[in-house]
């Protein structure tokens, strides 16, 4: 077997050093009845690289890759062009095959990268401090809710109706076990979000208000009044962002008073990957909240010779020290995805990020204008970044399948995200990025014209 270096002669020699007569002697503590007496049922014997690759390639060919179709899906996962050097760098063995940097003297590469990453995320979000990553946006959202509970010592959570429904579902799931009370609602189908309604739900028992920005329908709203209302009741404002590229064009949540900003970092460097691994981003505006943060933090220090270096720090918050009193049970996070984000963001820089955001917005406006010309179709949003909601006048789920049959991946139907919510069933979320061509937009418009009655 190509991954196992021991020869039978090695094994024999080693057994004699150990003083065992056979490998079974080393498994004496496994009771006889617990030992598997034959091979794993149905699993073939070992296979060559070529044979396994062939099997896996056949499975991959059963999927329609985004690059092979006009592609308009978003709703929490965005397709952007990832520069070639990103994948080259994350495949360097020194990054790929390293562990969590517990031995900082031989992990400065990972640690310096994390320090840069934390700085990039904090600046992007308009916050003071970001952590070294969590699993993904949805779990980061829950961690923010849990942290708000620790900070405010209150447990009523107000969720905006326009928070990604899967994120809301993760929060509801976790809250069942922590006795947090969740106040949520379905999104109102209107050009701008119902901020007055949201603010009216904040009371003195509220630990936090959770708002997505841009929201699930693609709408952009001024977070300032929500922050003010939350703070007036002693609650924190948690802002969720699922498209970091947007923050190259629109104000940072931290600038508008958000206390905890979390999000999905997948759009930069990571790719679609069918939903994972992704990259949870987590930042706080006020440095006094640092000690309540979940997850790893990388900090600057000096070594014994006075040279600058980096270490994991403030670990008395964490499970391996604090055990049942930790701020989170998280251990492994998304280190390599953080590297991909860090590299992609370094390649972009502020100039590139702003140009990328502008290009996304330009193409989204172009697409919205073209699609609004399809008979029976209208654009819901007053404003948006690179994703907007189309009203189709009929069940969008069926339309999505009909578009797929024509080779067009036309967007995400809200009916899939909110099963059972009839009033949302005619909405189609359409995302447009720099990877979308004018021809793609035309293909979607034409396909919609053919599919809609």
């Amino acid at each position: 077997m190509r991954y196992l270096p021991l020869t039978d002669a090695d094994r024999g020699e080693m057994l004699s050093v150990i003083g065992a007569s056979s490998i079974d002697d080393l498994f004496v503590d496994v009771p006889e009845e617990a030992r598997l007496d034959g091979p794993i049922r149905g699993l073939p014997m070992h296979a060559s690289e070529m044979a396994v690759e062939k099997h896996m390639r056949a499975l991959s060919k059963k999927n329609l890759a985004a690059a092979d179709a006009p592609f308009f899906l978003g709703a929490g996962a965005y397709r952007h062009h990832v520069p070639s050097s990103v994948d080259h760098i994350i495949q360097r063995g020194e990054f790929l095959t390293a562990y969590t940097p517990y031995q900082p003297e031989i992990a400065q590469g990972t640690l310096q990268m994390l320090f840069e990453f934390q700085t990039q995320v904090a600046r992007l979000y308009g916050c003071a401090v970001a952590n070294a990553s969590l699993y993904d946006g949805s779990t980061a959202c829950w961690e923010a809710v849990a942290m708000a509970g620790r900070v405010t010592r209150k447990n009523r959570v107000v969720l905006s109706g326009a928070l990604h429904p899967h994120y809301a579902e993760v929060v509801r799931t976790m809250a069942k076990f922590t006795q947090d009370e969740i106040a949520d609602a379905e999104p109102a189908i209107q050009p701008a979000p119902d901020n007055a309604g949201l603010i009216s739900r904040i009371d003195d028992e509220t630990s936090c208000v959770v708002v997505q920005y841009p929201d699930i329908l693609g709408r952009i709203t001024d977070l300032g009044p929500i922050a003010e209302a939350a703070h007036a009741k002693g609650a924190l404002l948690v802002v969720v962002n699922t498209e970091p590229v947007a923050l190259g064009a629109i104000k940072a949540p931290g600038e508008m008073g958000a206390d905890i900003v979390v999000g999905e970092g997948q759009a930069l460097g990571v790719g679609l990957q069918f939903g994972g691994p992704y990259l949870g981003l987590f930042a706080v505006r006020d440095p006094k909240h640092v000690r309540q943060m979940p997850g790893r933090l990388c900090g600057e220090t000096v070594d014994a010779e006075g040279k600058r270096g980096f270490v994991l720090t403030l670990s008395t918050r964490e499970q391996h020290i604090r055990r049942e009193k930790a701020t989170s049970n998280i251990c492994t996070n998304s280190g390599l995805c953080a590297l991909a984000f860090n590299v992609h963001m370094s390649l972009l820089g502020e100039k590139g990020l702003r140009a990328l955001a502008a290009d996304n917005h330009r193409l989204a406006c172009l697409a919205a204008d073209r699609l609004a010309k399809v008979p029976g179709v209208s654009v819901l949003n007053d404003n948006y970044f690179n994703e907007f909601t189309l009203m189709l006048g009929q069940d969008a789920r069926e339309v999505v399948h009909k578009l797929a049959a024509k080779g067009v991946l036309g967007g995400v139907s809200l009916g899939r995200l909110y099963p059972g919510a009839q009033r949302l069933s005619q909405c189609l979320l359409v995302a447009v990025t720099e990877t979308t061509s004018v021809e793609d937009i035309e293909a979607l418009a034409t396909a919609l014209e053919e599919v809609l009655p």
């Binding site: 094994r11 562990y99 992990a107 600057e300 930790a326 280190g335 390649l347």
Partner: protein, 522 residues
């Protein structure tokens, strides 16, 4: 059984004179040949530089941003591609990885990461598909999840599996929430989860998060769960016991079946931390030992890369009693052979109306699933069994080659499994496990796990894995013996190690006392 003293080191052979190696003339750059110091991105990048060619933004393009344009500078410097590649290549060279050498970090299973797995994960049909694509366009992706799920169930002898948890600790949480949901479904509110003192910190953190009070399970002198004491503690308030098997002392819990039977009899559930599954994969099925839930770290046993701290992946295999409560979404194959994604909407149709909820936005770590499935198919039934046997053989070889020099608290009670545990008893002077670990860095090795498990003073947990050759082990043993002899002799020069790493010991107290967590000018 003791190996001879291979190093030939004697206490009088001080190493202080070796410092002459460091005494060349100072360089003007501060660099030393291949040791290239690299400044921070924020010190070398510029706001007006980008490494990506994009259209210049046009002032007369439509603006529908609701008047919320980001006007202030963000503070994100950019680099061109050649500068970027050089920056990260230099950083990478300050890192230790499995590709560079032996990485015996106990409980972390740092085995070789096969490159075929990387290639497969990057196939466009896996890497460039969106999680919410119409089902008919991603059947192959569902098949990967379903095929991996099938083999995980077969390898563990369990009934079902929840694939969505994002890492080991997330899997633990999933398992404990399944247990809680199952108990609540029968109207049985229990308050306590029992966890051994030797457990990973994630175990008590998870149980506490799920609303349980955590109590210790007593251990015997030989490093295993004390069955009699456990039985005495079981009662109607105990929701679950969380046991790691093989345990963190590197020992198989011989009484596992009896433990499970006792817990079940008392109405509780058995959670097994599967971090150490590598020792028994293909040899023992946890389902046969009465386990109700166990997470599998795909980034340990199934070789998906650790990536400097993730991403991981933590599917949880479940017993028949817990399977109905597993989270959404998941995949299911219908009689016509088609694999479906079961979400909130279709849960009832697929007979899964008791799901406790959703752990994450999408379906789990697809990029890890493709790698793990590739690994399983590459090894096959014979290869996986050989993995466990070689991992255990390598660990015992180290244990028996070191036990005359290092305190091995459980060596007398029999063989270890996949990792060898030592303590610092016998070190001379003021020397500690930390000093020995840092000295290993100078010898070109990543240190073993230090000070874990908590039950052994100055613990050193050495996990070689199966992907090391005998020659690599022999070289490591020679170096490890040399250092053990010096530690036992109280060689004070070890207190300043490492001498030759990119950094000397770092001031962690300073980092925590005055946290500097982001870069700022000045």
């Amino acid at each position: 059984m003791n190996a001879p003293n291979q190093s030939g080191w004697k206490p009088e052979m001080s190493r202080a004179s070796d410092d002459s190696l460091n005494n060349g003339p100072a360089t003007t750059t501060g660099k030393r040949a291949l040791m290239l110091e690299e400044r921070l991105l924020f010190e070398i990048g510029r706001a007006d530089v980008t490494g990506v060619d994009l259209p210049e933004p046009s002032a007369d393009a439509p603006n529908r941003l609701g008047g919320l344009d980001r006007a202030e500078p963000i503070g994100l410097p950019g680099l061109t591609e050649p500068e970027t590649v050089r920056h990260y290549t230099r950083l990478s060279r300050q890192n230790y990885g499995i590709d560079l050498g032996f990485f015996p970090l106990g409980s972390c299973t740092m085995k070789h990461n096969p490159r075929l797995n990387e290639k497969v994960a990057r196939m466009p049909g896996f890497a460039d598909v969106h999680p919410l694509q119409p089902q008919e366009t991603v059947r192959g992706a569902y098949e990967v999840i379903n095929e991996l799920a099938h083999w995980l169930i077969e390898l563990t002898g369990m009934h079902g599996v929840a694939m969505s948890p994002k890492a080991g600790a997330h899997g633990e949480l999933c398992g404990i929430l399944c247990i809680r949901a199952a108990l609540e479904a029968r109207g049985d509110a229990r308050e306590v989860v029992l966890v051994p003192e030797s457990a990973h910190g994630t175990n008590p953190a998870t149980a506490a998060f799920a609303g349980y009070r955590v109590e210790d399970i007593p251990a015997t002198d030989e490093g295993r769960v004390d069955l009699a004491a456990l039985k005495a503690r079981l009662g109607p308030d105990v929701a679950a016991v969380m046991i790691t098997n093989p345990n963190t002392c590197g020992l198989f819990e011989r009484d596992m079946k009896a433990i499970s039977d006792a817990v079940h009899e008392a109405g509780g559930f058995v959670y097994c931390d599967g971090a150490n599954f590598n020792a028994i994969v293909g040899k023992v099925r946890p389902g046969d030992l009465g386990v109700d839930a166990m997470h599998i770290n795909l980034h340990k046993t199934f070789s998906t890369p650790h990536g400097g701290g993730g991403p991981g992946s933590g599917p949880v295999v479940l017993s028949e009693a817990l399977s109905p409560f597993g989270p959404l979404p998941f995949t299911a194959r219908t009689a016509d052979g088609v694999v479906h994604l079961v979400e909130e909407e279709s849960a009832e149709e697929f007979g899964h109306s008791q799901a406790f909820g959703r752990m994450t936005a999408f379906h789990g770590q697809m990029g890890m699933f493709t790698r793990a499935l590739t690994y399983i198919l590459s090894h096959g039934a014979d290869g996986l069994k050989q993995v466990a046997e070689d991992a255990v053989l390598n660990a015992n070889y180290i244990l028996r080659s070191m036990e005359d020099l290092l305190h091995a608290p459980y060596a007398a009670s029999g063989p270890c499994m996949h990792e060898a545990l030592f303590g610092d008893k016998g070190f001379g002077g003021e020397l500690s496990t930390l000093d020995l670990a840092k000295s290993l860095i100078d010898e070109g090795y990543h240190p073993m796990t230090m000070y874990f498990p908590l039950v052994v003073h100055g613990a050193m947990l050495v996990e070689p894995t199966e992907t090391e050759s005998k020659a690599a082990l022999d070289q490591f043993i020679a170096a490890f013996r040399h250092l053990a002899e010096r530690a036992n002799a109280g060689d004070e020069t070890m207190k300043q190690a490492p001498y030759y790493a990119p950094r000397r010991r770092l001031d962690e107290t300073l980092a925590a006392r005055k946290p500097k967590l982001t870069w700022s000018e000045g």
